[in-house]
């Protein structure tokens, strides 16, 4: 975890990792779909609450980690929502104003984006990237593409560590003391990273040849637990959310 990707670490340590992708996929992608398809209130709100309960409950992300993961999308949602809320016009000089229609659209957007983000977290925090790629393979995405994606994942971890080590070393020698130095440091760092990623690939190719690598990077998939109960429960939950959301305006 030295590279500090909190989402990645959460996924690998989640109790749900051993569940089959089919089960998790139906639930998590179902929630995501509900978040963007259903009216934000109550559909999106319900998805947000359910996702939050799943994340803090069975997926065991924990509050502190969730905040650490969540602040970046939260900030970017807020900037976007604020931009939608404020209207501009320039017919008679530049004017900024907040209209009722703008505010309503902004609130709807905020709820939908928040719900979708939390729904996406249920997948990202319970399923390592590599399992998702294995799922894509089963969806007939060609092998070479999956292999390259899996290697990108593996290389990225080491390269992120290199990037932070280079940054620390440059900082220690005052590499970010002013703008000129910063530009020089950044360019040297990027060039060094390029060479390192290239070198890494070459050396790995050598190492894999000894293990019989010719034209495919086949590996065996670890066993995963399928549960029809889990699947049925997920479907029921999604149906319930959808039904409630669609009948909401009628019952009110």
């Amino acid at each position: 975890m030295s590279h500090g990707l909190a989402l990645d670490h959460a996924a690998w340590s989640s109790p749900w990792r051993a569940r089959s992708l089919r089960d998790k996929g139906v639930l998590c992608l179902g929630l995501l779909l509900a978040a963007i398809c259903l009216p934000p209130v109550p559909g999106g709100a319900a998805v947000a609450v359910i996702s939050l309960a799943l994340l803090l409950g069975p997926i065991r992300v924990g509050w502190t980690r969730l905040l650490r993961i969540g602040w970046l999308p939260l900030v970017s949602i807020l900037i976007g929502v604020a931009t939608v809320a404020v209207s501009v016009s320039w017919a008679d000089g530049l004017r900024l104003e907040v209209t009722d229609a703008g505010t309503a659209a902004a609130v709807q957007l905020a709820v939908r984006a928040l719900a979708a983000t939390l729904a996406m977290f249920t997948l990202a925090c319970s399923t390592p990237m590599i399992d998702l790629l294995a799922g894509l393979r089963r969806l007939r995405v060609p092998d070479p593409l999956i292999e390259i994606a899996a290697l990108i994942y593996r290389f990225s971890a080491g390269l992120l560590d290199s990037a932070s080590a280079i940054h620390a070393a440059q900082d220690a020698r005052l590499g970010f003391v002013n703008r000129t130095a910063t530009m020089r440091s950044a360019s040297m760092g990027v060039a060094a990273l390029f060479l390192r990623s290239w070198d890494r690939a070459r050396r790995l190719e050598d190492g894999l040849a000894g293990r019989g690598y010719t034209d495919a990077l086949r590996t065996l998939e670890p066993a995963r637990r399928r549960s029809s109960g889990f699947l049925a429960g997920s479907v029921l939950l999604l149906v319930a959310v959808t039904a409630t959301a669609l009948s909401w305006p009628v019952t009110r």
């Binding site: 990707l5 999308p73 949602i77 209207s87 957007l109 992120l160 690939a201």
Partner: protein
Amino acid sequence: MHIAEGFLPVIHCVAWYAVSAPFVIHGARKVITEAKEHPESRLLLAAAGAFTFVLSSIKLPSVTGSSSHPTGTGLGAVLFRPPVMAFLSTIVLLFQALLLAHGGITTLGANVFSMGIAGPWVGYALWTLSNRLGWHRNVGVFLALAFADLSTYLVTSVQLGLAFPDPVSGLAGSVAKFAGVFAISQVPLAIAEGILGVLVFRLLTDVAAPELRRLGVFGAAKEAVA
């Protein structure tokens, strides 16, 4: 700045997926052909993808003193060509969404179009044009990187503007609004990315000439000149 998860209405999500798909499939086909002809290129393509991913997650100083993430797609387009970048950017954006919570799955199609297709093609077009006009390589690199970055953000502004027309001033207003928030603040960053690219390229020609030759970067420059 990618479009966050859940930010676009469902129709827009589907539409951008549909618009991006042909480009990504075209890139993926090229990648598959390359991987089948030269098995070792899988590892090199993966190195290129990891490089792009890490580049997009490190901070870049801006001329104004604030800092932001470079898109890296201009550099990628020059080094690895736009079709390959369309594929690699899709992977990188998927990773950014699921590993960094930056971007999203529902907005992946839109983000791929701005960062993986529009940016690289604009950058590559300027790189080729500059080479053809016989301009200095540094000019080509600067233009490619700066405008790949800038066009990515402009396209993002248009995408958001289309999704959220301003109740007062309509589509024009909303695009101007988002461009104001994202693209204008991006101009200094685009310039910074362009300058950085020139410096990086100078270093790479010093120490990585064989690698660049293998990628065909020098060849492209020469071919375009001739």
